[in-house]
Point group: C2
Chain length 655, copies 2
């Protein structure tokens, strides 16, 4: 892909753009502030720039007069880069250089190409595989049973011996062998107890071996369709297409239909205690999984019969509910799950709309609140293979953290609260179309620069947007380290609202909801509690093993907002520790990453179990040390200012 | 039990009778001929004897005048022995001494007490067992998952480790653990792939561990209910009650409902090729099995939930049909079954009316026509453990034979035809109530002495009766060695009938069917073909390994008629080789014997598979050598008269 130089004037900042990049995005990435309130959909008309020269495409717009258009004025949000360009940012958008002294790097978002860097030993050797065999037809001098004939050939041709046989396989075997004139493809699964023959097809279908991995979140269910037969490590590590490796044929996600029975795991457990509750919750989550599978198959144009394996990663409660197992004891002191290691089940026993014989692997959990999704994440992170100390954080409805290396792993669940998923935030929403996901506050004018997901008019604020807002307001001096507004701020955007003081991000006419979108001090309180719980959890884990934040070699951040979070802003508010940025790595959905590894490689199946057994769970909920650390972290960035010297330096320079 | 001396006069033959013995039975066993045509129910009035003195009970009867009764005349079939007695046999019943020179021994019928003699290493150590465990309840400092808590305790208390878990077990575990206040009984099955937890019950139920074994015959389905928890080898070998060991709580049998779709396996396979045929046949056999199970449970007053294991032994076609697997290729050249080793299945997958989790073990087969019933029989016979050469014969609808010892086993199926089960015999019937099962022909008067099963009026002739008849007619000189009647015989019982010459066993008024019951030359032809096939099969197996009949140390005879067959008569007609009688042993239903061993002892599970692999199948159907031997055996007893010197001697002495 060709790179173009986009030079922003008068600050003379150069951004390496790719063909087709949006100019407002480019400015955001380059750290150039351009006012924008409507999220990037052209409604507010505020993001005017003047294109001096350059190969760009930008249609006329009602906010731009013909005279302006003639002079080169364009809306940045409507402008697409097709070559080198010089772009002048108008005075009203400019920020003094002090506020922009940092040259921001593209965040360390892990692309599939980096899997090889994270995890070693990723051979393509799936636990569910297909083998094509041609059998000599029966003859008088060789009239062994069909099953012996088949397994004899599997042993001779592939060295695979000592099988068990699925009953369904057995029932159709003789007919298919003969219809196929003794040329068949056998699907074999390697279980903890050895090989098992699960399916037989006529002809050579060895190239049609697909798997589906599903991350079963309390809120969102994400699936990926994998091509197990046509994947090689080369492809996994070197080729990419739109940020997906070629093995991943399709992705799909949907909200967990259980949401109608409660927002978080606790309310789901409460519901499960009603008569028929467990069954209703199971039906709901399975319905969503079936929808996701259906979409995956449709988008890749693959038939359900070609799927031969499922791997599910979910938290402990979700895993119980997928299995239809009563989760109530998880919530009752002393918080015991039914199991942390789950028997493999057949898809049909769960109600999955796929062939009966398909084995469903469920990632093992560690405890009631550190589930299979985290075990999958640790697997995907490769931290269990490394000498270096890694801190793994999965920030979603809860915040789960894992600290350790190849020799030891310790973990905890922080009851972080759902602020990053929009919970407890007045205009909070999940990271979906219309969510404000990137925000800059001009420290001179206090005007915001807003980009929404999908560049449509804003509907609300998602987690990464909220971090940007709080960090921006803090850096602009509009709020104090206690999360309260400076009452004498000189901007009409700060005003007294129904729940105290608030900052207006978008005015009603710029939004989809015809209401002013604001952030309030109550929102800040919630965010601070959430980030404090996560930070305090990390501190307790470190203390437990006699380490400090500086000893951490690598911080791996997983979670739905992993792709969008601004690392420096997250440090600014004290969600993440102040470490050099190259130590951070985003992996996006870590559970899917681990589930994908497990699907591709037998060895990782055993590793997943080993990891789950190796992880030592620290219960934070009743820990006085955790409470102390939590209270200490209820400040922006922290009451211990020595832990955030650079942030304090930056904030101090503003005063 | 006290023994009484019953002395038959004038031949002065003494019989050791037990209290309550029937006098006609005693005479039959003593080799004393007493005319009797009605099977022993008092209708014909022919079995008159004079009781000189002795303690007997015999009610008056219309066939005996008051004067006769006064003199001591009684009907033998209505007389019960209660002490020493002297019984005079009237002239019309007497046989010259020549015909009675042999002192008959009670046949070697294996009682359960003899299992220890047959098979070594019968430890009571069932593959499905229950263990009672008391768990420490969860606590804050010990809040591992329920499953870990349970398996931890199983390991600590019983040393059982490395489990897999049945999905159903998993779903009910947490609830039952708590309802039972952490005191539970776990059912564990040892599979080829290790231990599996299959059921959990509240409280201590370790003593309620039952198993059902079923012999699935083409004609008859027999089941036994076993008490796995309260059985010891001591009980198995030393105690008996009504001929059953105490471990066997109940027995039940029923005709296979598949009979309505055809009499033999070939006609069943033909039916299976119709649309929905396999399913109909499966439903039919499962229906019968369910009936047998229901009766077993009712008769022992045990609930279905207490059953934890099933073991089925059937021929290869029956095993296919029980599993719902198409058996058609068994009949088509080159006669390949779908499998000879069958995956263990859950009862619910077969439609068995028992708990879903129950594992059903199906005995492995050797080939299309040597099935799991024979493997079970060989297991029960112990021949696979011995140095001595054993010939195992299972004579039912087919005749299956196994020759060998602990080092080698060779087997064959002889298409014997169902003559011994009544097939192809004009008045043939299965061994049930009203079947003529024991017959003697008075060589002087040519009058028959007939005993039926249940001592009711006769309805037909079963296998053992037919052997007695043919041997009796041959010894009386009424038929020749070619199976044809001597046309100049001086008895009205031989006459020209619709299908040639015939001998009248019972006249219409003496029967339940109001027709004369006869045997014809067509019947003899069928019987001769059947016995010739079995004898020829044995000969081929022996020739194959360079042995002769005289090298056989032991002949073990299994099969439905095993309890009734008269050894010497079977030798007389050439069904069995002429060997000294002590080499023969009857084991009754050998399949049930083996299935019982397998249920009681894990080691025999592995032995069953080893036996099936070890058995070399010899295909007789296309073998010219078999055809030669078959033709040679189409004579009574055989064309090679040197093979039967004693029989020839006896026959010669008649001439």
């Amino acid at each position: 892909m060709e790179n173009y130089r986009v030079t922003f004037l008068p600050m003379d900042r150069v951004f390496q753009a790719e063909d087709g990049d949006n100019l407002l995005d480019a400015a955001m990435k380059a750290g150039v502030h351009i006012n924008a309130s409507c999220g990037g959909n052209g409604a507010c008309g505020k993001c005017k720039v003047m294109v001096r020269k350059g190969n760009i495409f930008s249609p006329p717009h009602q906010a731009i007069s013909p005279e302006e258009y003639e002079k080169g004025v364009r809306l940045a949000c409507r402008t697409v880069v097709h070559g080198d360009a010089f772009v002048e940012v108008p005075l009203e958008s400019q920020v003094d250089r002090m506020a922009l002294k940092r040259t921001r790097e593209t965040p360390h978002i892990l692309s599939p190409a980096d899997i090889g860097q994270l995890v070693a030993g990723v051979d393509v050797d799936p636990a569910v595989f297909k083998r094509y065999v041609e059998l000599p037809p029966p003859a008088t001098e060789d009239n062994v049973s069909d099953l012996v004939r088949l397994t004899r050939e599997l042993k001779a041709q592939y060295g695979i011996d000592d099988f068990s046989v699925d009953f369904g396989f057995f029932k159709s075997m003789s007919r298919i062998l003969r219809e196929a004139r003794w040329k068949v493809t056998v699907t074999i699964v390697l279980t903890r107890r050895g090989y098992k023959l699960i399916n037989i097809e006529a002809g050579n279908r060895a190239q049609e071996n697909y798997s589906i991995v599903v991350d079963i979140g309390t809120t969102t269910i994400c699936g990926q369709l994998l091509d197990l037969a046509n994947c090689s490590v080369v492809r996994m590590t070197e080729h990419m297409e739109n940020g997906r490796d070629l093995c991943t044929l399709a992705e799909s996600s949907d909200y967990n239909s259980q949401i109608s029975f409660g927002e978080d795991v606790i309310s789901r457990i409460m519901f499960s205690r009603k008569k028929g509750g467990v069954r209703k919750l199971q039906d709901a989550v399975i319905k969503t999984i079936n929808n996701v599978i259906k979409e995956l198959l449709a988008s890749a144009d693959i038939k359900g019969e070609s799927i031969s394996h499922l791997a599910f990663a979910g938290n402990t409660v979700m895993t119980h509910l997928v299995l239809g197992v009563d989760p109530r004891y998880i919530m009752l002191d002393p918080y015991t799950p039914a199991a942390t290691f789950f028997p493999p089940v057949r898809a049909c026993d769960l109600g999955i709309d796929l062939s009966d014989y398909i084995h469903t692997y469920l990632f093992p959990s560690v405890s009631s609140y550190v589930g299979g999704d985290i075990v999958a994440g640790v697997l995907g992170s490769g931290m269990f293979q490394r000498e270096e100390i890694t801190l793994f954080m999965d920030i979603g409805t809860n915040g789960e953290i894992v600290l350790g290396n190849k020799d030891w792993l310790t973990c905890a669940s922080c009851s972080a609260g759902p602020a990053f998923e929009g919970g407890g935030i007045e205009f909070g929403m999940r990271a979906g179309k219309g969510a404000i996901e990137q925000v800059r506050i001009n420290p001179a004018t206090f005007e915001p620069m807003i980009i929404t997901i999908g560049k449509v008019k804003p509907m609300g604020i998602c987690g990464s947007g909220l971090i940007d807002i709080v960090a921006g307001l803090l850096e602009a001096g509009l709020i104090g380290q206690n999360g309260k507004f400076e009452r004498d701020a000189r901007t009409p955007r700060i005003r007294a609202g129904e729940s105290g003081f608030e900052y207006v991000l978008s005015y009603a006419h710029e939004t989809q909801i015809d209401r002013d979108i604001v952030v309030t001090e109550v929102d800040f309180d919630n965010l601070i509690r959430t980030k404090a719980a996560i930070y305090a959890g990390c501190k307790v884990l470190l203390d437990n093993v006699g380490l400090a934040f500086k000893d951490i070699d690598r911080v791996i951040i997983a979670g739905g907002f992993g792709h969008y979070i601004d690392l420096e802003k997250a440090i600014t508010i004290g969600l993440l520790p102040e470490l050099s940025l190259e130590r951070f790595l985003f992996v996006g959905n870590g559970s899917l990453l681990g589930a994908r590894l497990l699907s591709f490689s037998q060895g990782f199946l055993r590793e997943a179990e080993r990891i789950a057994r190796m992880m030592t769970n620290i219960e934070l909920s009743n820990s006085p040390r955790f409470m102390d650390e939590f209270v200490a972290a209820m400040f922006l960035p922290h009451t211990d200012q020595n832990a955030f010297p650079e942030v304090m330096d930056r904030l101090g320079s503003k005063k």
